[in-house]
């Protein structure tokens, strides 16, 4: 059970935060199809930062002395770098769709094509192979929270809560959850959030009340880019051992599906993300899931082809969308370039 919860969280949290990224863009009126590309770019930026900092030996002393606080700070810095570069990358989309009134679907597709191409081009030049990894060590030894940090011995039991939510987890996961809550409040309970949402529903009315629609759309897309970039790095850190390979296995698109399934509302999105996280977790590690802890690996013993488990997240998405999309209500003005003269 502990394993199942931890693994589900590992997959659900990047989905959740990237889906929220989608919400910020779409609520301001921009379809952000580029989530996938921005995730790839953010993951690359974060991993490159980790790699270069390790090469420079900045945190070697902290690692040698087991100074966990410094190492967690290092990880937070990497997340910040990924977020900043993700935001910068997303400016390409906002510039095209706000200033040039371009087709947002094509703009997003262009970014989705551009990110892996750029990333692989640079990875090949930097690392001379198709993967960029950490310079030394692995993600677990550098960034994972372990019970030894809290003075527990190797054989000590932390209890169910401790061993599930503290031991062998990443701080990044919890930072993302906190950010998710804070930003949801920002979107619904502040003046800024209300203005942002109004630009996605009726930009003309918003403009007539003195809100700068262009600025709000830039803000929405930039927040979106920052969150997606960070989500990409968190995904690479927690599931891919802090390596960048120029792809995130369709997570950005899955996040889009989560967003639509969650009806553009944060609480629903959190639930949807957990559901998809569960299926992703089953697909990735069905052989080692021991549901009730009796040493029987039920899913592996069912004798179902692993390909079915791998297909499951996508099949479930399609089926769930089939049931929910009739009711779904997208922001009214999304995808329509704002034209001041139009009524």
């Amino acid at each position: 059970m502990t394993f199942l919860i931890q693994q589900t969280l590992i997959y659900a949290v990047p989905l959740m935060i990237v889906a929220l990224a989608g919400v910020f863009a779409e609520r301001s009126g921009i379809i952000n199809l580029a989530l996938e590309g921005i995730m790839i770019f953010g993951a690359f930026a974060g991993v490159l930062f980790v790699n270069l900092t390790q090469q420079a030996g900045v945190f070697d002393a902290a690692k040698a002395n087991d100074n966990y606080l410094a190492l967690q700070g290092f990880m937070l810095l990497a997340m910040l770098v990924a977020a900043i570069l993700g935001a910068l990358f997303s400016l390409l989309l906002s510039f095209a769709s706000v200033n040039l009134k371009a087709d947002q679907t094509i703009g997003g597709t262009a970014l989705n094509l551009m990110a892996p191409a750029l990333v692989l081009f640079f990875i090949r030049i930097v690392a001379n192979q198709n993967t960029l990894q950490m310079y030394t060590g692995d993600a677990a030894s550098w960034f994972m929270i372990k019970k030894s940090m809290f003075g527990y011995g190797r054989n000590d039991d932390m209890g169910f809560f401790g061993s599930t939510f503290i031991d062998k987890t990443y701080l990044a996961t919890y930072i993302c959850i906190i950010l998710f809550v804070v930003l949801s409040i920002l979107l619904y309970k502040t003046r800024f959030g209300l203005r942002l949402r109004s630009c996605g529903e009726n930009p003309q009315a918003a403009d007539s009340l003195g809100i700068n629609v262009y600025k709000m759309r830039y803000a929405g897309t930039t927040i979106s880019g920052a969150l997606a970039g960070m989500g990409g790095f968190v995904y690479a850190l927690t599931t891919a051992n802090c390596a960048s390979t120029g792809e995130v296995a369709g997570f950005g698109f899955l996040a889009l599906a989560v967003m639509i399934f969650g009806n553009w509302k944060p609480l629903n999105i959190a639930g949807a993300a957990l559901l998809f996280g569960l299926f992703k977790c089953i697909a990735a590690s069905y052989t080692s899931i021991d549901i009730n802890g009796d040493g029987v690996f039920l899913l592996a013993q069912l004798g179902i082809s692993p390909h079915i488990y791998r297909m499951l997240p996508y099949l479930v998405t399609l089926v769930v969308l089939a049931f929910t999309s009739k009711k779904s209500r997208a922001p009214k003005a999304e995808g329509i370039p704002y034209d001041k003269g139009k009524r």
Partner: protein, 420 residues
């Protein structure tokens, strides 16, 4: 009036060609710029490599390797051009696939999945039907038809859920892509139905399927190998061109094409005019899927191409590259022939860069993505042109628009023509 219109139409065509050319030039210039920047920042490369990289970005198609002194040489290289035509074959067809769907207002990002399903069906048919009893050309035709059909079925799915359940086709396409990727891997995996098609003769290669030439099935060269010796080119390119022309006729000269475009222009208006929008959405996606499937068939029936069956982690780039091919051609089926060749030329450039310099082929993907990014505006520019043109007409003759349904009927094909 009619003359005026035809002049405008011609002007519009020239404008789209110009817009595409500008996108290409800017894209390649940015690609060259990145090559220069990397060369400047990377001390191990030096200025010589940088200059070679830039020259290859623009003239890689005519590269003939290095001479004895280690200098790059350029000239007419029939092998490169033949290979370019061979690689253009599937790109033209996936480009057509995206273009046809786009005309119906659908963004077919599902071409990779349709391509994969086409691949699987083609290979299974071409390799399992014994050529001792059935003549090889007939097997070829069956495999080609089967591949197209499989693609059509796979394309139908996003069409159906879009038409009847209102699911965004982009999302449905992406999901079907990944489902196809897993499904195809499953079909050929150990212990599965078609395990026996795994290539066990050339045991240096794992996870590959037999070439279709093992069963004696391959596309006829149609004499093209005499013009372009030592290259992979075959009759597939001619078939692709014929299909492109057929699609042009279908979209611009038939009732079906008119209905599809009407749905693309305004789904609700089309329904109001008595066109079944749901049927047309499904049909358009089926045609698009069939084209992607045909792309896969022509590529793998060449007899000298191999399929890596363990595809569940990545989707075929040929499918995605149909998007830039179509957008660059402004979704004109005839234009797709040329942009398909251009994209495959970039492919060759990438190969030359990897083989001859320290740079790698991904720079060409960067160039492609920049071109797509620019084409996002070029569509808008064209929209602005047609918008001002329409306003102009309204101002010139304040004829009552509301009186005449035939006038409205006149208006729509014009619009379709402008977009073409």
């Amino acid at each position: 009036m009619k003359e005026k219109l035809s002049i405008l139409w011609g002007k519009d065509g020239t404008k789209s060609v110009l817009a595409s050319l500008i996108s290409i030039v800017i894209g390649m210039a940015v690609g060259a710029l990145i090559v220069v920047l990397v060369g400047l920042l990377n001390p191990s490369m030096g200025l010589g490599t940088m200059w070679e990289g830039v020259r290859l970005v623009f003239g890689g198609l005519f590269s003939t390797g290095r001479d004895a002194a280690g200098q790059l040489t350029f000239g007419f290289n029939p092998t490169n051009i033949g290979n370019m035509l061979f690689r253009a074959t599937p790109l033209i067809l996936t480009g057509l696939s995206v273009a046809v769907a786009y005309k119906t207002g659908l963004f077919n990002i599902g071409a990779p999945g349709q391509y994969l399903m086409g691949t699987a069906a083609t290979l299974i048919l071409a390799l399992s039907i014994p050529t001792e009893t059935v003549p090889a050309p007939l097997v070829w035709v069956i495999a080609f038809a089967g591949g197209s059909l499989a693609g059509a079925v796979w394309g139908c799915i996003p069409g159906l859920v879009k038409a009847f359940l209102n699911i965004n086709e982009v999302l449905a396409c992406i999901m079907t892509n990944w489902i196809a990727a897993n499904l195809v891997t499953w079909m050929f995996d150990r212990g599965s139905l078609f395990e026996n098609l795994q290539n066990t003769v050339e045991n240096t290669k794992t996870a590959y399927i037999y070439k279709t030439s093992f069963n004696g099935v391959e596309t006829s060269k149609m004499g093209l190998d005499l013009i372009f010796p030592n290259s992979q080119v075959n009759g597939g390119i001619l078939i692709a061109i014929v299909i492109a022309i057929l699609m042009y006729i279908l979209m611009n000269k038939t009732t079906l094409g008119y209905e599809l475009k009407a749905c693309g222009a305004n789904r609700h208006a089309a329904r109001y005019a008595g066109i079944s929008d749901k049927r047309n959405i499904v049909l358009s996606m089926a045609i698009a899927g069939a084209l992607s499937g045909a792309a896969a068939s022509l590529y793998y029936l060449a007899g000298n191409t191999e399929f890596f069956w363990s595809t569940y982690q990545s989707l075929p780039a040929t499918g995605f590259n149909g998007i830039p091919v179509a957008l660059l051609a402004v979704c004109n089926p005839i234009g797709v022939i040329f942009t398909g060749c251009f994209m495959s030329m970039l492919d060759i450039v990438g190969l030359q860069l990897t083989n001859l310099t320290a740079y790698n082929e991904y720079i060409t993907d960067v160039i492609i993505s920049i071109i797509v990014y620019l084409s996002a505006f070029s569509l808008v520019i064209k929209l602005a042109i047609s918008g001002s043109h329409r306003k102009h007409r309204k101002a010139a003759e304040p004829a009552p628009v509301s009186t005449a349904p035939p006038d409205g009927g006149d208006g729509t094909p014009e619009k379709g023509g402008e977009q073409a």
